[in-house]
């Protein structure tokens, strides 16, 4: 019924295969598969220690939430995000994506920076109010400070901006710290180069997201010559997901409350060549 998913390995080929990356309709899993998944989930500590607390933070978009084994961004786990292409250096799209996730959750957030180029009014524009965020300029100690934050209860999430190689050992340590405390850990990978191979090396993060900007449609589709900017669009790529499959969606960027929107006209049929 549907062609098997093809995940582009190079950003250059992404535009070409965009059309084939449409979301297949979810299939209800057979009972045997469900049982197996249950067992794997138990092995992987996918169940919350405290059943009264939510396990994950849904995006509110069915297509994305169904692709994630916990029905959303899992709390108490490490997630990696990065921007694609020339934005890898500033990671603006990835930062907005993270700010949008945090905007949909309450509680204080620790944001570990290497250098201070973050602009708080921009975060507030994605719904993350500045009174919730404690910034820590950690220089070279980004990962130790992140772990410190994860081992401390009371935070809703810890965000770290990290440039450089992330070893499996280090990411495993962060993942375990997040698992123990139940704090959401989000890592924004930055790199001065476009296609840094270090960003593709395996880590212990349970999901890995790659966000690329897409050309947005005119602000007024019926009058394309009217000047103005509509809502930005992203290609949201789930390049790795423990217990799930890599997927890709075209979405509308975060609004003022941090919510994404699925792009309707591309989700259902292939897009014409731009």
């Amino acid at each position: 019924m549907f062609a098997p998913l093809i995940i582009p390995d190079k950003p250059a080929s992404r535009a070409a295969v965009q059309g084939s990356l449409t979301a297949p309709a979810p299939r209800p899993p057979s009972p045997a598969i469900a049982r197996l998944r249950e067992r794997i989930a138990r092995i992987e500590h996918l169940h919350p220690r405290d059943p009264s607390r939510p396990l994950s933070l849904p995006f509110g978009i069915e297509a994305i939430d169904q692709a994630l084994p916990t029905g959303g961004i899992r709390l108490g786990a490490l997630h990696e995000t990065a921007s694609a292409g020339p934005d890898t250096e500033h990671a603006a799209a990835a930062t907005l994506f993270v700010a949008g996730i945090l905007a949909r959750r309450d509680g204080p957030v620790l944001w570990v920076l290497r250098q201070a180029d973050l602009f708080a009014p921009g975060l507030a524009g994605a719904g993350l109010q500045p009174d919730r965020v404690i910034f820590a300029e950690a220089g070279k100690q980004v990962l130790p400070v992140m772990e410190e934050g994860l081992r401390q209860s009371g935070l809703a999430a810890v965000v770290a901006e990290y440039t450089g190689k992330l070893s499996l050992l280090a990411s495993r340590r962060l993942q375990l710290a997040a698992e123990q405390s139940g704090i959401l850990a989000l890592l924004i990978r930055r790199s001065p180069g476009f296609d840094d191979p270090a960003l593709n090396e395996p880590t212990a993060a349970i999901t890995r997201w790659r966000i690329a900007a897409l050309p947005s449609p005119p602000a007024l589709p019926q009058a394309p010559d009217t000047p103005g900017l509509g809502r930005a669009r992203w290609q949201l790529e789930l390049t790795r997901c423990r217990g799930g499959e890599p997927r890709s969606w075209n979405v509308e960027a975060c609004d003022a409350t941090g919510r994404l929107g699925l792009v309707p006209d591309i989700a259902d049929r292939s897009v014409k060549a731009a």
Binding site: P108, D117, P130, G154, P215
Partner: protein, 499 residues
């Protein structure tokens, strides 16, 4: 034999205004202190110009043009005196303020520690003068004699039973001014004749105070002084049979010390703000580590961990034979109920995390962002300490209708841009040698300079545009100048942020 030091601060109110903590008040000499239009104190420069306490302010200002005048503040003077009394505790365990302008220090049995009375007085006066306090001091065997000699006898060491009081003026007896005036009318100038006169008629006329002062001066009536209680430091010290060398051993000791300090803090209902841990090494030198907390803390685990993290800075040398933990600063910390089904879920406490990050990275590195009422993007925010309360709904200060980039490129990077008309966004721009074609754009958003800050901002203008290139990336560009008048800017284009 009792020995008492009396210290006299002849210009206490003016000296207090010259202390570093009062640096913002106008205290340039000549300075006078005024209450109810009358001079209550004058500094040395004003006294040299002929001003005296009790003078009318108008008269003083007529005599000395450009006189600095400050209002009297007796509570602040009393507080300064209390602090000076704490300093007196350095010399002896008993010290007390002697209002309005003096100190008592009962140095009985402690002068040998400072090399005798003469050296003690010299050291005391040197310290006070170094801190900007004019002072005179005398030591005698009764408070009354010491008090009188400090003020009227030139100070110094008064030997027991020297009989110096007889030659002093009757003002030295600490009597009310009206009594003194009447005694002078009766012909008494010095203490000696007054003490020799028949006491009964004088007491009948002036009251029992006169007799008491004479007895105190003669040393026949004991005059107690009420010492201030030294600020109790909460501390714990542990000495070891064998010198310790390893970090593990230090950690174990820290657990014990912190536990003992925690009990004391609990009884005092206080929480530590600053902890000093001293390592007394076998070679008699002392190593110290100090940790601070953002809020009063009594949690032994938290305090212990903060000290542990600092252990790497300690050089144990040949070994540490004792460790001494001092709560150098503590603030009240009452017990609070943290869990109950009746109260709401407590807001999570992040003070511990802030403490640990602050001790790790430094105070300036942990902060929150608060908005500032300014339209210039770089000035629209400021850093505030992480635990300071930020008013909710703070985004009111940031324009909600005009989206701001999530990364600010500071300073703005110059770009080559091409725009068709001054009011229009560029059609293309080159940033870092990469050419971007603008597909969509929004703007201009004109931000004018804040002319009230600097004259040069009077005319300066920036026109901001949000643009999207052919790949969908969004940038925040601005042109310096309004596009027509070169006085407002040089029309160059800059990239100020990415969305």
């Amino acid at each position: 034999m009792r020995r008492v030091v009396s210290v006299w601060f002849p210009t206490l109110p003016t000296d207090r205004l010259r202390q570093p903590e009062n640096a913002n008040t106008a205290a340039s000499p000549p300075l006078v202190i005024v209450a109810a239009r009358l001079l209550t104190a004058v500094d040395a420069a004003a006294a040299a110009l002929g001003l005296r306490p009790g003078m009318n302010l108008a008269q003083a200002q007529a005599l000395v043009p450009g006189l600095a005048v400050q209002g009297a503040n007796p509570p602040a003077d009393a507080a300064a005196l209390a602090r000076l009394a704490e300093m007196g505790l350095h010399y002896a365990p008993l010290a007390a303020p002697d209002p309005p302008d003096g100190l008592w220090i009962d140095v009985t049995g402690s002068t040998h520690l400072h090399g005798g009375e003469t050296r003690l007085l010299r050291d005391l006066l040197r310290r006070l003068r170094a801190q900007g306090w004019a002072a005179h001091a005398a030591v005698a065997d009764t408070p009354a004699v010491a008090h009188a000699m400090a003020r009227f006898g030139g100070g110094g060491v008064v030997l027991p039973d020297a009989g110096v009081m007889a030659g002093l003026p009757i003002e030295a007896l600490r009597l009310p001014p009206e009594t003194l005036a009447d005694l002078r009318l009766m012909g008494f100038e010095r203490v000696g004749p007054l003490a020799a006169a028949a006491l009964a008629p004088l007491v009948r006329r002036f009251g029992p105070l006169l007799a008491r002062r004479l007895d105190q001066a003669a040393g026949t009536l004991f005059e107690p002084i009420t010492p201030i209680v030294p600020p109790a430091l909460i501390q714990a010290r542990l000495a070891f049979m064998e010198p310790l060398l390893t970090a593990e051993a230090f950690s174990a000791v820290i657990v014990q010390l912190v536990d003992s300090v925690r009990g004391d803090l609990e009884r005092a209902e206080r929480g530590a703000r600053r902890l000093d841990l001293l390592f007394e090494r076998v070679d008699r030198s002392v190593q110290a580590i100090r940790v601070g907390t953002a809020r009063p803390v009594r949690d032994a685990h938290h305090l212990g961990r903060m000290l542990d993290e600092r252990l790497e800075r300690v050089d144990p040398g040949l070994g540490v034979e004792a460790m001494h933990l001092i709560v150098a600063a503590a603030d009240p910390l009452a017990f609070v109920q943290t869990a109950s089904s009746l109260v709401a879920e407590p807001s999570p406490d992040i003070a511990k995390l802030v403490d640990r990050l602050t001790n790790r990275l430094g105070e300036a590195q942990i902060y929150r962002i608060a908005p500032v009422q300014s339209d210039v993007p770089e000035r629209s925010l400021r850093r505030v300490p992480a635990l300071s309360p930020v008013a909710p709904n703070v985004t009111a200060a940031w324009p909600a209708d005009w989206p701001r980039p999530v990364r600010l490129i500071d300073p703005p990077q110059p770009i080559e841009a091409m725009a068709l008309l001054p009011d229009q966004p560029p059609v293309a721009f080159t940033w870092r040698r990469v050419r971007h074609l603008v597909r969509h754009a929004d703007g201009p958003e004109r931000i004018a300079g804040e002319w009230w800050k600097r004259d040069r901002e009077w005319l300066s203008v920036r026109d901001y545009f949000r643009v999207e290139d052919e790949a969908g990336r969004r940038f925040w560009l601005f042109r310096r100048g309004d596009g027509s008048d070169t006085d407002t800017g040089d029309m160059r284009w800059f990239l100020h942020g990415v969305f």
